[in-house]
């Protein structure tokens, strides 16, 4: 029973990190209907900035710089690449982000080289024991930050002008433009927010229980992709639910691989994708994705 609880708690905690990444996908998708395949490189960039800066300026300023830097990089990508492609279809724009990701990832990975870079976080390898369940402090922080970030964005989407503009643009770009919504600003804003979230996610992907940032860190972003789809690519709530679901599924598949032969041999790694296919078969728009609302 304790074992199950521990698996669940740890699954939720790593799921929270996936949720942060998935939220980045969702925000860009909501405002521009583009699946941002360059997200992994934003994540790597944010993590890299924290890793190289924390020694000189301390962890918290470095984290701020990482978040700001990744946000700026996101906005820059939007401004330099995507904005010039305004006429392209969403599919084309999604494809172009793959190219952006390749270029950025090669450069950052080259800088990281073969190193494993610690991020100098304050949590270290401290853990909390609750009734026999062990959980790393860093993971509790991740859970807290993810829930907080997602709540903030839910509220912002609902109540701020920025949120209304973003939702309007997501639904109908031409009409939003007719309302005086500045589409460029909306989509650059979305990219910046996605970058900031990616940097936060990078932080939690690279602190305990992992030793630090290396060039493979960005692969985690690929696990968040099914999380975003399972939740529904245009739903912020969905990002949270999808992320947690993936985290728990993975933890359970790993934890019980000894008991069930099916789970053995790396099943945990494909479980998110299997789950995604099942969800898509039942609900093509994902668990929380919006269907067209119409009377007809």
């Amino acid at each position: 029973m304790t074992a199950l609880a521990e698996l669940l708690v740890n699954g939720l905690a790593s799921g929270a990190v996936y949720a942060l990444v998935a939220l980045g996908f969702v925000i860009v998708h909501r405002s521009t209907e583009v699946i941002n395949f360059a997200h992994p490189s934003l994540l790597l960039a944010g993590g890299y900035l924290v890793a190289v800066l924390h020694d000189d300026i301390g962890f918290w300023p470095a984290l701020g710089a990482g978040v700001a830097g990744a946000a700026a990089l996101g906005a820059l990508v939007e401004f330099v690449v995507l904005r010039r492609l305004r006429s392209g279809s969403h599919g084309t724009l999604s494809i172009v982000t793959i190219g952006v990701d390749i270029v950025l990832t090669v450069e950052i990975a080259r800088r990281i080289g073969a190193e494993v870079l610690p991020l100098g976080d304050p949590w270290g390898d401290r853990v909390v024991q609750v009734g026999g369940v062990t959980i790393a402090q860093a993971r509790i922080a991740a859970l807290g930050v993810a829930v907080a970030a997602i709540t903030v964005f839910l509220l912002a989407f609902k109540y701020t002008s920025w949120g209304v503009a973003m939702r309007a643009a997501a639904e109908d770009r031409a009409t939003a433009a007719l309302m005086g919504v500045r589409l460029g600003r909306v989509s650059a804003g979305a990219w910046a927010v996605a970058g900031a979230l990616a940097a936060l996610a990078a932080l939690f992907l690279c602190v305990f229980p992992t030793p630090g940032l290396d060039r493979a860190t960005s692969f985690a972003a690929l696990k968040a992709l099914p999380a975003a789809v399972i939740g529904g690519v245009d739903s912020t709530t969905g990002a949270l639910a999808g992320g947690l679901l993936i985290g728990v599924t993975e933890a359970l598949a790993v934890g019980y691989q000894d008991e069930a032969a099916l789970l053995r041999g790396g099943f945990a790694d494909i479980a998110p994708y299997l789950l995604m296919i099942v969800v898509l078969l039942i609900r093509p728009t994902g668990l929380f994705g919006t269907r067209e609302l119409a009377r007809a």
Binding site: S94, I95, I102, I270, Y273, L274, M276, I277
Partner: protein, 414 residues
């Protein structure tokens, strides 16, 4: 009905829309040998232009035939890789470029083709500690069935594909790559697991297309496996390109473009949308299967590691760089993407910004990745029709006008 001369907001004025309905007499593209004589051309064109074209085609065919007599193994192999890639890319372009279904799972169907061939053609053997199954079929039969198997795999997936659009479809197909690789690693009895498995050489009419200790000498040149594979490879590519052009410029192509641009309108016009969507998925998988078989034959060993995400993205890059929706473009993109890293690695010493192995700086592989990623972005930004757009004669005003009209259907609901 709204004002109807103008095209709608939904049409993709960029790559896809303009690329698909270009002048049917446009050249097939730099890399694809002309599709077998003049069968694909409308009869009215068979005037003087027809002869000129036939002559150009013959020259190209002759040039292709001459390659194995001159080129060293490196170039033959690179060429064969490019041919296989071109076949796969043409198939993907039918699906993604023409029909607008984003697929990031092409690598999966390549793997189905490659491994089905290996399994059917191989004799049972023991290797690396496990027993490998094999049916020992004659290789040509095995290849044909492998290609069909890839098509069937596509058919099985098409119900899922039919339910999804755009990026969601892309991600679902991405899942295929991961699931497929998982199965390849597990199904050791068929695939050989991580170590992969030797690919039985093709045998046509008793002739083994493989290296042998005493290679047959043709006109003074010893013919190894690569030399011999060159000819069927080129023929298959020509056939694949010819058939794809028929699809693109014929009724199915128009139906698919209409579905891509206006699915609801297409349905209303009586186009059987679901059937076309499934059909193009199957056709594209068949192409992938064929490419997979050819790749396996060139590799001589099929290793699951190869059929991963990177390969799937490579194929997407090929069609984007070459030009969405165009057969010649896909082939050109395939040549570009598959040759670029090899050339940079080989001639890296002579290129100023590329560092030597083991030195600091941008290594050849990195330079290749950066160039390829940048080409990806630059093509979409500045060459919406891809490499193909660089060719003269492609931007005939008449065809553009047609493209505009075909894309029109007012302002569809979002």
């Amino acid at each position: 009905m709204p004002d109807s001369i103008p095209p709608s907001g939904r049409r993709d004025p960029g790559p896809a829309g303009a690329g698909t309905l270009a002048d049917p007499a446009a050249p097939a593209g730099v890399a694809s040998p002309p599709p077998g004589g003049d069968g694909a051309r409308p009869a009215s064109r068979a005037g003087r232009g027809g002869w000129a074209r036939a002559a150009a085609g013959l020259a190209a065919a002759a040039a292709v035939c001459a390659v194995p007599f001159y080129a060293e193994a490196f170039w033959l192999q690179a060429g064969l890789f490019a041919m296989a890639a071109a076949i796969g890319a043409i198939g993907l372009n039918l699906l993604t470029g023409v029909a607008g279904q984003l697929s990031m799972g092409h690598a999966f169907f390549l793997a189905v083709g490659a491994y089905t061939y290996v399994w059917l053609a191989a004799e049972p053997e023991r290797a690396a500690g496990h027993t490998l199954h094999g049916l020992g079929w004659p290789p040509p039969l095995a290849a044909a069935v492998a290609v069909a198997a890839a098509g069937i795999a596509g058919g099985l997936f098409s119900p899922i594909a039919g339910r999804l659009r755009g990026a969601s479809l892309g991600i679902a197909t991405l899942a295929l790559v991961f699931l497929g690789q998982h199965v390849l690693f597990r199904a050791e009895a068929v695939t050989g697991g991580v170590n992969g498995r030797a690919v039985p050489p093709m045998e046509i009419l008793g002739l083994r297309l493989a290296d042998s200790p005493e290679p047959p000498v043709v006109l003074g040149v010893p013919f190894g496996g690569l030399e011999m594979l060159w000819f069927p490879g080129a023929a298959l590519l020509a056939l694949a390109a010819w058939f794809a052009r028929g699809v693109v410029y014929g009724r199915p192509g128009r139906a698919l473009t209409t579905i891509r641009d206006h699915e609801i309108a297409a349905g209303a016009m009586g186009v059987p949308v679901a059937r076309y969507r499934a059909g193009v998925f199957v056709v594209s998988s068949v192409y992938a299967g064929l490419a997979g078989v050819l790749l396996a034959l060139v590799f001589q060993r099929a290793v699951p590691e190869y059929f991963g995400l990177a390969l799937a993205l490579d194929y997407l890059a090929m069609i984007v760089i070459g030009g969405l929706g165009s057969v010649g473009g896909a082939a050109a993109g395939a040549v570009f993407v598959s040759l670029l890293p090899q050339l940079l690695t080989r001639y890296g010493d002579a290129i100023p910004f590329v560092a030597q192995p083991g030195e600091e700086g941008l290594s050849p592989s990195e330079a290749a990745r950066v160039l390829y990623g940048a080409a990806f972005v630059a093509v979409l930004l500045y060459l919406p029709r891809g490499l193909r757009g660089l060719l003269p004669r492609c931007a005939a005003p008449a065809s553009r006008a047609r493209a505009v009209r075909a894309g029109d259907a007012g302002d569809p609901p979002r």
